[in-house]
């Protein structure tokens, strides 16, 4: 199924939107496998799986945020409306699954890791840095949960309408990309803190 889009600019003829799933079902399986492995890693409470999930999840989270906000965002802004909509229908459903999964993996493994190493205890010499990371992650969580994720879901439902509104899509995508950019910049601060903690 495809839906025609009314474009505001007369120079762009109406175009069709390819069919897509708001939540990709195949991706759900992959996300579930990731979560099961995370739970197994936490249950084992061994250093290597905890380090692996925390570092891999955190790296994926950081790279995606930076790439979305600073690289893909400007590129999307320069695309023609049909190309931008087609790209959005392919990117955003994946983001619905990828972002919550990598964030959960990174944070859950990170908390268990700090519990194992004792760095989340107030007696730890690294405690100040850990609390700083709590604050940064807290601010990032508020932006992600309050702005980024709702925009992600809303743009997909807008694209599912029989007559999607390009102005709404534009507005929601800007909100998504700007949020991702802010999160990406905050990730740099997280990188500074995490490398400081890791190097002692």
């Amino acid at each position: 199924m495809s839906a025609p889009v009314e474009t505001e600019a007369p120079e762009h003829p109406p175009f069709t939107i390819p069919d897509f799933e708001v939540v990709p079902r195949k991706g759900l399986v992959i996300a579930a496998v990731g979560m099961i492995l995370l739970i197994a890693g936490i249950a084992s409470n061994k250093l290597w799986p905890l380090e692996f999930f925390h570092v891999a999840g955190g790296a994926a989270w950081t790279i995606i945020d930076l790439f979305l906000g600073l690289v893909l965002g400007p590129i999307m802004g320069s695309m023609s409306p049909p190309a931008r909509v087609e790209f959005t229908t392919k990117l955003m459903p994946k983001m619905v699954l990828i972002m919550p999964t990598v964030v959960t993996i990174s944070l859950a493994a990170g908390w268990q890791l700090s519990t194992k190493l004792g760095t989340n205890l107030s007696a730890s010499p690294m405690h100040g840095w850990i609390v700083a990371s709590f604050i940064i992650v807290g601010v990032m969580a508020i932006i992600a949960l309050g702005l980024l994720e709702p925009a992600n879901i809303a743009v997909l439902f807008e694209l599912k309408k029989p007559r999607p509104n390009p102005a709404v899509i534009e507005r929601l995508m800007k909100r998504f990309i700007y949020s991702a950019g802010i999160l990406g910049v905050m990730q740099v601060a997280t990188l500074v803190i995490m490398t400081k903690i890791a190097s002692g």
Binding site: E149, P150, A154, P164, A167, K174
Partner: protein, 140 residues
């Protein structure tokens, strides 16, 4: 959704989440020592009040797309109840108990309700006419 004036639902929702996060950071920053619970309770109460006020203000909006809102919010609620349940399980596994457990559990309840309604609101406000209603939100 008509062009009716919407309450600043997203902004208040984010403020509510910020209070919950602040309470969580306050408690976790003092591990393993017991700290006075009063600041965390005040933050939780303020967050819950913002949640209640947010929902009340939204309920009074004329012609809001409630069908769409509940369609989205219930599935998001399912996801966030699972997430909150996993976090609660972690608290229990880590032997968190007493007043701290109560505060953290209630904080999770606010979190698990507010995020789904934020998602439901963002989708529902663009329903029907396909144009956004004014809520004082920035254009991003």
């Amino acid at each position: 959704m008509s062009q009716a004036k919407l309450p600043p639902f997203t902004q208040i929702g984010m403020a509510s989440l910020a209070l919950i996060v602040a309470g969580g950071i306050y408690l976790s920053a003092h591990l393993p020592h017991h700290v006075p619970l009063t600041p965390a309770i005040v933050l939780l109460a303020a967050s819950a009040l913002l949640l209640a006020g947010n929902l009340t203000a939204l309920a009074r909006v004329q012609d809001f797309a409630w069908g769409r809102f509940f369609d989205i919010a219930r599935w998001a609620l399912l996801a966030y109840v699972i997430i909150a349940g996993m976090i609660e399980y972690a608290f229990l596994r880590d032997h968190v108990s007493g007043g701290v457990l109560v505060v953290l559990t209630l904080s999770l309840v606010v979190f698990a309700v507010h995020v789904p309604v934020l998602i439901g609101f963002t989708v529902a406000r663009f329903h029907e006419s396909g144009t956004p209603a004014e809520d004082g939100a920035p254009a991003v």
